[in-house]
Amino acid sequence: MSVLIFADAADGQIKKSSLEAITYGVDLAQKIGATASALVLGKVTDDLSALGKYGINKVYHIADEKYNQLDARLYTKAIASVVSTSGTQVLILCNNLTGKSVAPRLSVALKAGLVTGASGLPDTSNGFVVKKAVFSGKAYANIKIPTATKIIAISPNSYKTVAGEGKAEVIAAVGSDIAPQVKVTSTQKVTGQVPLSEAELVVSGGRGLKGPENWGMVEDLAGLIGAATACSRAVADAHWRPHHEHVGQTGGSIAPNLYLAIGISGAIQHLAGVNRSKVIVVINKDPEAPFFKAADYGIVGDAFEVVPKLIDAVKQFKGVA
């Protein structure tokens, strides 16, 4: 048996979410008595043999620069060929942009059952059953994959990376000779901020903050603890904040370790995108706000008084006061 983890990179480095996928794949391999290998596409600056410290034996590397941009069709052909030549039974990806673009294509190319957004190791006591969040985090489904080759795309931030010692063997592999057709012409990155999809801590603001001019304290608090910022749909619709910060049923779905919501009522559609967060803190002046029912910690109070005090308390805690 063998498990292959497709680890994608950005700016020459393996993404944090793919390191989580690697740990997941290594744990799965151990569980089913298989070996775990990784596959990396494109030129990278990371030393790939260092993936050995996560428990990887072999790293297949197709070092062609054309893979430094995402072309789902091209990626699929390359990954599918390594799956076939390496005799892989279970392919693991992270359910990020790359995973969402290529995992479904691979499912077709390999005739392999796919579960996207998986949140735990499969149950192998009766077949091969993978748990995933459904109804935008309001429930879970257990899904059976009966096909010989199986694909799992795990949710970012749902599995903790564990590093130890070790060195992996890096094997140069060749991709397909077709040329990319999807060409990236420019990127617009929000610099200096933790990407929301990968963030462990998130500070989020709602309409209770009254206007975009009041986001300074949200950003200050987020900056202090190294958190990403998010917002409710009402806020994104009013163009107070950019669209990619919108979380909820019709925005991003996130599962950080901490979700701190300021001036957000906690409508069912908002909760849908954030209720997989491990710890939820709510600051709202209305004690009846529905969000308190979904929260672990809460402060009933005016954000404009509470948040500056909270910032001072965090500064004191961090010793930066």
Binding site: R73, L114, S253, I280, Q316
Partner: protein, 246 residues
């Protein structure tokens, strides 16, 4: 330009999520159904905008589902689109559904649009599967789409931002926020939708690669611990010592 917009039916966003038959089925009693918001607000509205710019554009809506999805299809037609096709089957495996869509999409569409995912199964798989079945390009999680002749310029989400890319037609795109703004159907649209063609076709034979064994609800929260607004230091302490998140 011929555009195929894939439309699916999902429970209303406020629907109570409960399960029946020993937690093997979604309990549908009293549930209101809507067009999957990503399909409606982004994929369909963007297609309509393209037709408004170039009236020779043809938009077909496609649903894979039972007869009970017809009210949803009519609602989508009230927003826009020339005609609709329903593939008459109720199977919920993504591969099976994608195979039905691909069988229709291969009949000469330039652009196939889907929502980025459905809000019930959150699979985010159909568009990618269709593109592979047709061996054409796929751009997922797109926030912007412009046509220039036979090239499409798109923005798509990446970690911490967006990137702009170009792809040739034919193309499959999964759409999300940013692409267009939600619209409300007007009276003329609603009246017109009644007489637009809605063709029902039978499914092709296709494999099923996965099956749902059971559903479960997340464990309930223990209840909120309230902290005095005058003492946020207590919150910092709890987050550090008890929750261990900072």
């Amino acid at each position: 330009m011929k555009i195929l917009v894939c439309i699916s039916k999902t429970p209303d966003t406020t629907a109570k999520i409960a399960f029946a038959d020993n937690n093997t089925k979604f309990a549908q009693d009293g549930v209101q159904w809507i067009i999957n918001p990503y399909d409606e607000w982004y994929a369909l509205v963007r297609a309509i905008e393209l037709k408004e710019k170039d009236p020779s554009t043809i938009i077909h809506l496609l649903n894979v589902g039972g007869a009970d999805t017809e009210p949803i299809i009519r609602k989508a037609l009230a927003l826009g689109g020339d005609e609709a096709i329903r593939v008459n089957t109720e199977v919920s495996d993504s591969y099976y559904i994608a195979a039905q869509i691909a069988a229709i999409a291969k009949e000469g569409y330039d652009l196939v649009l889907t929502g980025k995912e459905t809000i019930d199964y959150n699979g985010s798989s159909i568009g990618g599967m269709v593109s592979e079945l047709l061996d054409i390009n796929y751009v997922s999680l797109a926030t912007k789409l412009e046509l220039n002749g036979s090239t499409v310029t798109l923005n798509r989400e990446i970690e911490g931002g967006e990137e702009t890319c170009e792809a040739p037609l034919p193309l499959v795109v999964s759409c999300q926020k940013g692409m267009a703004e939600q619209r409300i159907p007007n009276m003329k649209g609603i009246m017109g939708a009644r007489t637009k063609p809605l063709k029902v076709v039978e499914p092709i034979a296709a494999d099923i690669l996965t099956s749902i064994v059971s559903f479960e609800l997340p464990p309930a929260k223990a209840g909120v611990k309230l902290i005095s607004p005058d003492n946020p230091g207590e919150l910092v302490k709890l987050l550090h010592e008890e929750a261990k998140v900072i």
